[in-house]
């Protein structure tokens, strides 16, 4: 999906920063850096030519589809007309400049604010209802000793993560929809009219439930790894000191999970304005625009559906800018709490 760079439909993005910036930047500070500078760059170029060439295809694709479109955001300051020239990009040079007019339009646009409100409400709801579930499930799975049972339970819980959103939504339709299994059973007993899929009031809970069904199981994996790294000596020592099951969980297990929880929270907050774009787009027709319009779908609707590219780009730009600020702010906050966050101080 081209909506945000690096974020893929399979939702693998969050773990990215779990892993990298903290882990892999470490070798950089190694002493060979000083040594490397003594070697003249011509020699280094000859030595590392192959490595640089190997990196180029990926860098080229990122420049083409991430960096260049970033410049394309200038259309937000224009009255962009795609037909001003034969080509969509050169049309930018033939479109009139408007300054910040698109942005002032945004401030006066009630639909924009309703999308903002929906986005924030849904983010908070997902934070409260979704976030604790993988932790609880990981503790549960971790307490199962039998390896066979563990593996089967994990396989089942990971499975929905690999389903497409289209599939998840249609599966939910078969359960909670107007022709779904619940409605069908109720109808057999004389109650008709059950249909959660078109209920605008309950929609926010429905999409949260879909997220939980799809990704809560997958979320376990990070916590299980952290739990596996806890030394059993700690548990044994705690047990020797008379700590029971729950006290051990409180004083040994949860502190061990603290850095991971902090990190995932930072990532989640940093990504706050991107709440399940595909989910909302897929269910927009069923549930109505009022309940399902979030910032990402608003950009899609204004730009791609209505052809108001400049305005949509302006909304997207504001969203992106706030997103970057949120990542930085959440990280700062994590540092204040003494946690590592996404990148190091």
């Amino acid at each position: 999906m081209s909506l945000t760079a690096g974020s893929r439909p399979d939702g693998t993005r969050p773990a990215a920063a779990v892993e990298e910036p903290t882990a892999a930047l470490v070798p950089e500070a190694a002493p060979q850096k000083g040594a490397a500078h003594k070697v003249p760059w011509r020699v280094r170029l000859r030595r590392d030519r192959a490595l640089i060439l190997m990196t180029l295809p990926a860098i080229g694709l990122l420049v083409l589809f991430n960096y260049i479109p970033l410049l394309g955001n200038v259309v937000a300051f224009q009255d962009y007309d795609p037909y001003a020239s034969s080509n969509g990009i050169t049309a930018i040079f033939h479109s009139p400049w408007l300054g910040v007019e698109q942005f002032s339009r945004m401030v006066d646009d009630p639909l924009f604010w309703s999308a903002v409100k929906n986005t924030i409400v849904l983010f908070l709801l997902q934070l409260v209802l979704f976030f604790p579930i993988p932790i609880a499930l990981a503790l549960l799975i971790n307490s199962v000793i039998r390896p066979r049972v563990r593996a089967v339970a994990q396989a089942i819980m990971y499975l929905p993560h690999f389903f497409s959103w289209v599939l998840v939504v249609t599966v939910f339709q078969q359960v909670f929809g107007g022709a779904g299994i619940i409605a069908q059973t109720l109808e057999d007993h004389g109650w008709s009219g059950f249909d959660l899929m078109t209920n605008a009031d309950l929609f926010k809970f429905l999409v949260t439930a879909q997220s939980v069904w799809k990704d809560a199981g997958w979320g376990i994996i990070v916590f299980l790894a952290a739990l596996a790294a806890v030394s059993t000596d700690l548990y044994e020592a705690a047990a020797m000191d008379g700590a029971g099951r729950w006290r051990r969980m409180w004083h040994v297990t949860l502190p061990a999970l603290r850095p991971v929880i902090a990190l995932l929270l930072v990532l989640r907050v940093g990504d706050a304005l991107s709440v399940g774009f595909e989910q909302f787009l897929l269910q927009r027709d069923a549930v109505g625009v009022g309940a399902s319009e979030v910032l990402d779908t608003y950009v899609w609707n204004m730009g791609i559906q209505n052809g108001d590219f400049s305005y949509a780009a302006a909304v997207g730009l504001v969203k992106g800018a706030i997103g970057v600020c949120l990542v930085l702010a959440a990280n700062k906050f994590a540092h204040l709490l003494g946690e590592q966050g996404v990148y190091k101080k």
Binding site: E19, V144, L167, Q184, D285
Partner: protein, 308 residues
């Protein structure tokens, strides 16, 4: 040793450490009850979909829709869908895009991961930063759309592959894994005269099979599940991949795949049965592939990440 004793041995729990108190009966049953409930929550809806797709039309009609308990099995929905027409074509499109896309993405990612795996090489820091910076900002939907359009990629399958071909996250995971491979191995190859490409192909990649499998799965699932790019970049309905056909047929309930209206009208086939069969066809590849790679997930997700 009989299979039975083997089975019992594998099911038997490993010894509980002496300091750990035995769980209470109530606690144990609450725990296993909850675990079973979670698994049922995942499997039950899939069960209903699968059973309905395999049920003959009279059974579906009698049930008044979805079928929970199988009464007779027929593959007629599948044979109809797979014998040409809209759904067969969509499956071929999806398989093709997934295959080509995964191979392309893997090639680009593995090369980049190896190219960035030696700190201190020329331009290493700059290239790595250029890569990682894209994780923190999105280019935005509108500029990307305009770019793809003016590159002339709309209405080609390249628009489903190129814009989302590189996942920086996947490159970083591969890179972390490559960096963990002992440098003695590569150094000795280098002394023997092997170049970087040769080292990558003959030493690094064979040692990284597990992580390569996981990252391939991530890419493949991404391509198989994608529908949004197709919905904005393709206009020709005949080019649509399976997910987009699924949206039309099941979610928007346009009911019947083209080519099968006749069979539905004459009452040979049930629309619902056909719809459920399309869903099953969309979930089979991932449901088969992901458990195969499961034991490597941790490696793929977390090489060197959460050390506790």
């Amino acid at each position: 040793m009989s299979l039975n004793t083997q089975l019992i041995r594998s099911l038997k729990a490993p010894a509980r450490p002496v300091w750990e108190e035995a769980p209470s009966r109530a606690g144990l049953s609450a725990k296993s009850g909850f675990l079973v409930l979670c698994c049922l929550g995942v499997l039950a809806p899939l069960w209903i979909v699968i059973v309905t797709s395999l049920s003959p039309k009279p059974v579906i009609d009698r049930a008044g829709g979805l079928v929970v308990l199988p009464q007779g099995i027929t593959f007629v929905n599948y044979t109809e869908l797979l014998s040409g027409g809209q759904v067969s074509r969509a499956i071929l499109v999806s398989l093709g895009v997934t295959l080509v896309g995964t191979v392309f993405s893997m090639a680009v990612s593995v090369l980049a991961a190896y190219g960035l795996s030696r700190p201190g090489s020329l331009g290493h820091r700059f290239l790595l930063m250029a890569l990682m910076a894209t994780m923190f900002f999105g280019a935005g939907l509108i500029p990307t759309y305009l770019l793809v359009q003016s590159l002339g990629l709309t209405d080609t399958y390249l628009s489903l592959i190129l814009p989302s071909a590189v996942s920086v996250f996947n490159i970083l995971v591969l890179r972390g894994f490559f960096m963990g491979i002992s440098p003695e191995l590569t150094e000795s190859a280098r002394i023997d005269g092997a170049g970087d490409l040769r080292i990558l192909l003959t030493i690094i990649m064979p040692l990284s099979r597990a992580v390569l499998a996981v990252i391939s799965l991530f890419y493949a699932v991404g391509y198989w599940s994608a529908w949004f790019n197709a919905s904005i970049y393709l206009t020709d309905q005949d080019m649509m991949p399976l997910q987009n056909v699924l949206i039309q047929l099941v979610q928007k309930n346009t009911a019947t795949p083209t080519g099968l209206q006749q069979a539905v009208r004459t009452g040979e086939l049930s629309t619902l049965g056909l719809q459920m069969a399309v869903m099953v066809l969309a979930l089979i590849p991932v449901a088969v592939a992901s458990p195969l790679v499961q034991r490597h997930f941790k490696k793929g997700m977390l090489t060197g990440a959460v050390k506790g």
